[in-house]
Amino acid sequence: MEVLEQGIGKLFTDPDADKAREFFRKKSRRMENKLMTLKDAIAKYVHDGDYLAIGGFGAIRTPIAACHEIVRQRRKKLAFCGHTSTHDFQILAAGKCFDRVDIAYIVGLEARGLSTVARKYMESGEVEVTEWTNYCLSARMKAAAMGVSFVPIRNIMGTDTFKYSGAKKIKCPFTGQYYVLMPALYPDVSVIHVHEADVYGNSRIRGITISDLDLARASKRLIITAERIVSTETFRNEPTYTSIPFYLADAVCEVPFGSYPGNMPYEYFSDEEHFNEWLQTEKDPEAFEQFLEKNIYSCETHFDYIRKNGGIEKMWELRAKELMVDNNAK
């Protein structure tokens, strides 16, 4: 297979499908209780040096509680999948948890602006980067989910995004057209936040899935954080709506409001005031250190964080905002 051109970016994971198979061969398929605290799940399944991917869309259905816990447990030298990442990236950059990033979208929070701290970290030279696009990384997860080492796609050709990527350009043997091959991305560990899960890891997502269906399948280890634990019958009564089957999951953690201050579709809208506080506080290193101490390091659980930022009243306010109804809660 003649490679016509290739990016100079490094691959931070091995796309070898047979090696992945050997890993998956040993992964448990038992339908057994995987419920544990988030603290235990992060301690057990996220290791220094791992390649980590975070589900959701940066600040939508993103396991923010898990990102805090990773920072709190002071994980270091992770490789990070910077796919649709916004607030998740901002948190992990604040903890300097990673030193390698596959970049599609980083340092920004969309319409909210850019993270000073994340940007500074990415400009420091301390972080090794390889460049992609959101769809490139989705396609890389899809290749892994398919159990192969690459898939062909049609973007990035002719651009610097290709030049700094780890992709390879070839000619399609059926049509003679050019394609770029995306190497499979098998993360060591991922965290995905869902609406409902049972104790075995069967999970349901409502609303957009972004790239999480492929991510769940591509990941060697998978931590599910869920708004609610529900009975297994919930799944067995409507198997059409299962997003993630149990055998993909290694740990299941019940984390209500686990996406706060982000948006959880159908549950609560994002807390824009709090996002603004993050972005503003970041500009003053000392103030930001105190901010992190207050909001992450000194918290035992996600409930602590929520209590410090408006508590249950705030949650119900965000719920009303999400549903676009008047707030009837007291």
Partner: protein, 256 residues
């Protein structure tokens, strides 16, 4: 003539480009406002798609994120990244709006970095996100941006998202989908398209209140000129009313 600001002018210009019965992939902010305005002014059968998965929502207000709940409000489908990008790659996405820190004469966009050391850039921007994807796949890519010579540069220092690459047939030869590429560049001063052979940016209309000289002075490269340059139609009262009252009543975009 009605009183309006530059952002309102750009949004109205952009909205008019969106043919009824077509599909458009948008981000937050001005592009989203343009698509919403188009739906309320003649293109009621315009389908909006968001990269995170929202398809054909009835947007109740401006989204903060291309993935937030508003992007699937009364949508016909809540899908995912691959669904959207592969729909675009199959040739079902007509328009997209993109932006960047820099744009060059061929419509190439830089949203990645300033500075030569890739591993230690002077300024780091977010990167492609879904921009390169939409820009590679949508039939017609458009840009809405304020015009100044620092932004409109001869060659972008880093091509995040492909325009016509090096012009001529270079994009067709690259392997990117055929016959797709930059279409219109809409600024506070003018509307540009691309000369069909060379694929170089050229002025096709100038906004009221600006001269050709303004446009040329605020561009870092030599702009071509269409055989006939007209004045961009200013926003109508009706467009402004809908934009202000229905599309962006909180002035999140037009208040800037």
């Amino acid at each position: 003539m009605a009183d309006y600001n530059a952002m309102e002018m750009m949004i109205c210009s952009a909205a008019r480009e969106l043919e009824d019965g077509s599909t458009v992939g948008v981000g937050t902010g001005a592009p989203c406002a343009a698509a919403m305005l188009a739906q309320k002014t003649g293109s009621s059968n315009l389908t909006i798609m968001f990269e995170a998965g929202g398809i054909a929502p009835q947007l109740p207000e401006m989204p903060i994120s291309v993935g937030d709940s508003r992007t699937t409000w009364k949508a016909v489908m809540a899908s995912g990244m691959c669904e959207i990008m592969e729909t675009a790659c199959r040739g079902m996405l007509d328009y997209t709006f993109l932006g960047g820190a820099q744009i060059d004469m061929y419509g190439n966009l830089n949203s990645t970095r300033i500075g030569d050391d890739h591993q230690k850039p002077k300024v780091r921007f977010p990167g492609s996100g879904g921009a390169n994807d939409f820009g590679s796949f949508a039939w017609r890519m458009m840009v809405m941006t304020p015009q100044d010579a620092k932004r409109f540069v001869e060659r972008v220092s880093y091509i995040t998202t492909p325009g016509w690459l090096e012009g001529g047939d270079s994009r067709a030869k690259s392997g990117l989908p055929l016959n797709a590429g930059p279409y219109k560049i809409i600024t506070n001063m003018a509307v540009m398209d691309f000369e069909p052979e060379s694929k170089r940016m050229r002025i096709i209309s100038i906004n009221h209140g600006y001269s050709e000289k303004d446009v040329l002075d605020n561009c870092g490269f030599e702009l071509l000129k269409a055989p006939r340059i007209i004045e961009t139609s200013p926003p109508t009262d009706e467009e402004l009313r809908i934009l202000r009252d229905e599309v962006d009543p909180l002035k999140l975009v037009i208040g800037r």
